[in-house]
Each structure stands twice: as C-alpha cells, then as structure tokens.
C-alpha cells in the first residue's frame, strides 16, 4: 500500500480542491491511454491497455459449450481477473485474491447484465449456434501487470478493445437425424466473424477525495479516497451498471451529479478509445 506523509496527503487534497492534481491534470481528465491489440496469439482476441503506469492485459478465448437449460437462447460469458505479484508485493500468494474477485464481480455487473443475461453489454444471443444445444462460451481473462490506480476503468477498456479484436470462428452445423441428438459442429479455422461491440460499455470511476470527485485516480489519490462510484456508460450515453466502493456515504444528489458527469466523461473516453483502437489496428496491419 502507498504510504504518504501528512504533508503529501495535504498536498494531494489541496491540489484536488484547486483543480490541479499532482501530475498537472484537472479533476475530470484521464491520463494518456495507450492500446495494443493481438498481444496473445493463441487467444481469439487480446489487448493490452496502459493508463499512465497502470498496465492490464485481457485475453478472450471462445470455446464450444452447452447453453444453460434456463436460457437456451443465450451463450455464456465468464470474466476472471488476476492480479499479478509483479504489480505489487501485496498481491503475492493469495494476497491479490480479494481485489481480483472484487474486480471480477464489478466487471460482471457492469458488462453481463442480470442473471438472465438480459440487458448485457455483450450480445449473448449472438453466441448461440444451435438453440439449447450448442453455443460459444467466452472466457474473458484479465491480468493486472502493473497497478497505479483506476484498475476497473483500465480493465473495462481492455475488455472492450479485446472484444473488438476478437474473431469467433465460423461454424457449419449438421443436425442429427433425431432432434435429441447432439448436432455436429464444424469449426472453421480460416473464417472468423467479427463480434458486435457497439453495445459494450466503458466504465468511468469517480473517486471522491475530500469534497470533490475525480476521474482516473492514481494509487496515491486512491489511498486518500472516501468512496468511489464506478459507472458504466454505453455509446448512447445510457448507464449500464453502477457499483460503489468505500465505506463513506454519499448524498443521493451527489450520485445524480456524478452520473451526469460520468456520462459526459464516458463519451470522451469512448471516442479516444475508438481512435486508439483504429491506430492500434493500423499499426498491427503494418507489421
């Protein structure tokens, strides 16, 4: 954990109050974001996103599976996050487990919608191959390589980028003679279908420090937070999920205010992410 002296804490507080943070940003500015795609060749899609000194890798693996009997018309998506001990000594052994599960849960809430899969950011019905019989299972695995605050936003951005990079193999289905037979599925290793990522939201975390809230807090700023609200916003400016961390209470009016700010910041983040994805795709084609 970051240890800060009283003087440094005071300096950070003062900077946030004066709208000039320690690295020269204003309260609602993100750090420069950099994006790489296709970093893991074995995966169906992968990405690496850096937000200042925060560094995360996400890989997406698609496997054939059986849809659950409750929702035969939907595929399955699982999100797992792991915190590497290289990011901080405290993640060594089982130390990172608590944070890992907290991040996984928050991402599941923000991206996967309700238990029935309704309202998910990822279109689950597009993962079905034969209704009730065969579907794609997506395994989204995230790894925190280096941690300097705001992991949730970075991970959500990395998942969005990785989904843009994901190719789902094309399948041809031979239905068996009787309807109860498991159908034969032929997976093509040449033709891939692009995934529709227009509905995937980004997450904007607003961290409350003192009387004000900031976006994209560094770990030093996070150590001073009273509470943080993570809001996931999609392309249409709609709120897809909302989680709150930290024990301190918030006035409901502040939350409403935060939501409208997050909506605005989310649009900017989305557009900068889009341009970074385009640049990353262009440089990947160059190589």
């Amino acid at each position: 954990m970051v240890g800060l002296s009283a003087g440094e804490k005071h300096f950070i507080y003062g900077g946030i109050a004066q709208d000039l943070r320690t690295d020269g940003r204003q309260r609602l500015h993100y750090r420069p974001i950099s994006v790489e795609i296709g970093v893991i060749p074995q995966a169906n899609g992968s990405s690496r996103v850096r937000l200042g000194a925060t560094d995360v890798i996400v890989s997406i693996k698609a496997e054939l599976g059986r849809p659950s009997s409750l929702h035969p018309d939907k595929g399955k998506v699982a999100i797992f996050i792991d915190c590497s001990p290289t990011a901080a000594p405290m993640f060594e052994g089982r130390g990172g487990e608590e944070l890992s599960s907290e991040l996984s849960l928050a991402l599941q809430r923000c991206l996967l919608g309700g238990r029935s899969g309704a309202g998910a950011g990822i279109d689950l019905s597009s993962l079905v191959i034969v209704e009730g019989k065969v579907c794609w299972d997506l395994y989204i695995d995230g790894l925190v390589v280096s941690s300097d605050g705001n992991l949730l936003d970075a991970l959500a951005a990395a998942i969005k980028v990785a989904l843009c990079n994901t190719g789902i193999p094309k399948t041809t289905v031979n239905l068996g003679a009787s309807p109860n037979d498991q159908p034969d599925v032929d997976v093509s290793d040449e033709e891939f279908l692009q995934f529709d990522t227009s509905g995937v939201p980004v997450i904007v975390t607003l961290t409350k420090v003192g009387r004000h809230y900031i976006v994209d807090a560094t770990s030093e700023e996070e150590s001073q937070m009273s509470s943080a609200v993570s809001i996931s916003v999609n392309r249409h400016g709609q709120i897809c999920g909302l989680t709150k961390r930290g024990g301190a209470g918030l006035d409901p009016s502040v939350i409403l205010d935060m939501i409208s700010v997050a909506k605005h910041v989310g649009e900017q983040l989305m557009s900068s992410l889009d341009s970074e994805i385009a640049a990353a795709e262009a440089s990947a084609e160059d190589q």
Binding site: S5, G7, G15, G24
Partner: protein
C-alpha cells in the same frame, strides 16, 4: 528504437516517430563511451597481462575475461570491473538523499532509500527542533514521533557504514529534515549525478527542488531555511496537530495553509519536466530541468501535455542541441 517506444508508452504519429528516432540516433553517436560499453558475455580485452584483478561484473571463461553485467568497463590500475547500468543506488559518504521513514525504533528511525537495505538515522545524529546541543534524554526518545513519524519524507546526508554493514545517516543542519507540502518523485538513481549542490531554490517559481542522489526527488513549496522560522513552523504544526484532536476550525486552518495555486502550477510543471527527462533517460541536473520548464512555458504547453508525445520529442531534440553546443564550446 521499438523498445524505447515501448518503455515510453507513447503513441507517436509518423512524423513524431521519425523525429524522435533521429534525435536519439544523434545522441547515440555523440556518446564517446561506445567502446567501453559491454553487454553480458562480451569479452573484455585485457592484453593478456598476468596480474589482472577481476572485479565486480566480470568472470573468467576459457582464459578470457567476460562481462557478466551490462554497463561500462572501468579500469583502476590492475582492477577491471563493470559498472552496471540501471543498478540500485549505492550510497557514498556525504551523499544527500531523500528517504521515507518506515519505522520508528528505539533511538533511531529506519528509512527506505532505494538501497538494498534500509538506512538508519539515529536520534543522536540529528539536531533537535529546539536547536540545542545536548545529550539525548529518555524524554527525547519518547518524543521521537513528534519529530518524524512513519511515512514522513525526510532529507539527510549519508554519514557512513557501521561495522555491521548498516548504513547510517545524519541530519545535523537546518536544511535537513522533514519535507512537507510537495511531492516525491522516483527516478532511476543513475540519472542524478553527484554535485556540489543538491538543494535548489528555484526563485522564479518559489519552488524547492531536492535532487537526492538515491533517485528520490522532492519538488515542493519553498520553505524559508531561516533557522528561527523553521522552528516556529515546527511549533505551529505541532499546535495544529493538537488542534485537530480537539475538532473545530480544522477546515479553516487547512485552508489557510494550502499551497497557493500559482506555486502549485509551478510545482506540477517542474515535477512533470522531471518525469519527462527521466523517462527519456537524460541526466537530471537543475539546469536541464529549468531549461525544460522554461521551454514548456515558452511553448505554451499545458502542464499535463508535458507528458504528451509532442513534448517528449521536443525535449529529445532540445537535448541534442544542448549537447551539440556543449561539444562546440569544448572543441
């Protein structure tokens, strides 16, 4: 080049990439050390002299001296050793360092200073806030936390190694001590060269800059080194603490002592300049830092844009020009 770019974590456009590449190329050509630089497994030519002493970072392989580290070959009489690049900080007596208190122990504070072990600052090797020279009593020992507590950033001087190998510090002057109202930056220690002066007061900006030899750099609001003021400030801050415990007026006082916005902009500008220079791997001297700060002001660069791609490229190009003009003066 690609590794450089990866390290910088920048997204450069085509022209910026070309410009940065050419600037770095020129810098590389200018360094005369090229012959003495080794990577792991390079043979170090020793002219087959008989009595050569193989020092740190070298090994014997089939009768040849081979480097086991990446760095610069140094020769002192018969001793041949490799001075590693990117090594941890190695203290020398008299170094001025910035460190963070990690433990308050009996009669001593333990400090993290980016060395392979923690440094020790004895209560007896620092001036007491009352400024008197006297024996330290048990009461002083009990009041140690009123001087420094855990996580405080302090500045001190390397006093020497003890017999048991532990590193001792001293802070026997008003200029050493607790650093407040500012921020601590961490850079690779080899970027800070030992010089006569490590404390800098940038008068135009009202900023104190302390370049610790251990790679910890303090950028903060200027504190008057006038002895009496210092003690006064100390007392005030202690009274402050007392006030805080009995509630009331806290916010008001906090507001009174807040860093003025103007000085804060300067602090942030200096800090970001240090970040750029260290990311590019340029030596950190006060002249270069002030140059970078002035350039960022004259170019109307926003403080946060000092860390953006364009200013990186400009900084690299400025460094090329600086070294060219330096070598012209010499030649």
């Amino acid at each position: 080049m690609t590794t450089m770019q990866r390290e910088l974590r920048l997204s450069l456009n085509q022209t910026q990439r070309v410009r940065l590449q050419s600037a770095l190329q020129q810098l590389e050509e200018m360094t005369s050390l090229a012959s003495a630089i080794t990577v792991v497994a390079d043979t170090i030519p020793v002219n087959h002299e008989d009595s050569i002493l193989k020092g740190h970072g070298t090994s014997d392989l089939n009768g040849e001296v081979v480097a086991t580290l990446c760095g610069v070959v140094e020769r002192v009489n018969k001793l041949v050793y490799v001075r590693a690049q990117r090594a941890r900080y190695k203290p020398e007596v008299g170094d001025i360092i910035v460190g963070r208190v990690i433990e308050v122990a009996p009669k001593r504070w333990r400090l993290e200073i980016n060395f392979s072990q923690d440094a020790v600052l004895m209560l007896s090797s620092m001036n007491l806030p009352d400024g008197l020279q006297r024996r330290r009593t048990a009461v002083d020992e009990l009041n140690m936390r009123s001087i420094f507590v855990e996580n405080d950033v302090i500045c001190a001087e390397v006093r020497g190694f003890q017999h048991d190998g532990s590193l001792h510090l001293q802070a026997r002057s008003q200029k050493y001590g607790k650093l407040e109202r500012g921020m601590l930056l961490t850079v690779p220690a080899y970027l800070v060269k030992r010089r006569k002066q490590h404390f800098h007061h940038l008068e135009n900006y009202g900023v104190d800059l302390i370049l610790g030899s251990n790679g910890f750099i303090w950028v903060g609001e200027h504190v008057d080194m006038n002895g009496e003021n210092h003690i006064l400030a100390d007392q005030v801050s202690r009274e402050d603490m007392a006030d805080k415990s009995c509630v009331g007026q806290v916010t008001q006082e906090v507001h009174e002592r807040i860093t003025p916005l103007e000085i804060r902009t300067h602090i942030c500008r200096v800090a970001n300049s240090v970040r750029v220079l260290s990311a590019l791997g340029f030596n950190l001297t006060v002249e270069v830092i002030v140059d970078t700060v002035e350039a960022s002001i004259s170019l109307n660069t926003d403080i946060k844009d000092i860390l953006a791609a364009e200013f990186y490229v400009q900084t690299a190009e400025r460094e090329v020009q600086r070294r060219v003009s330096l070598s012209r003066k010499k030649g």
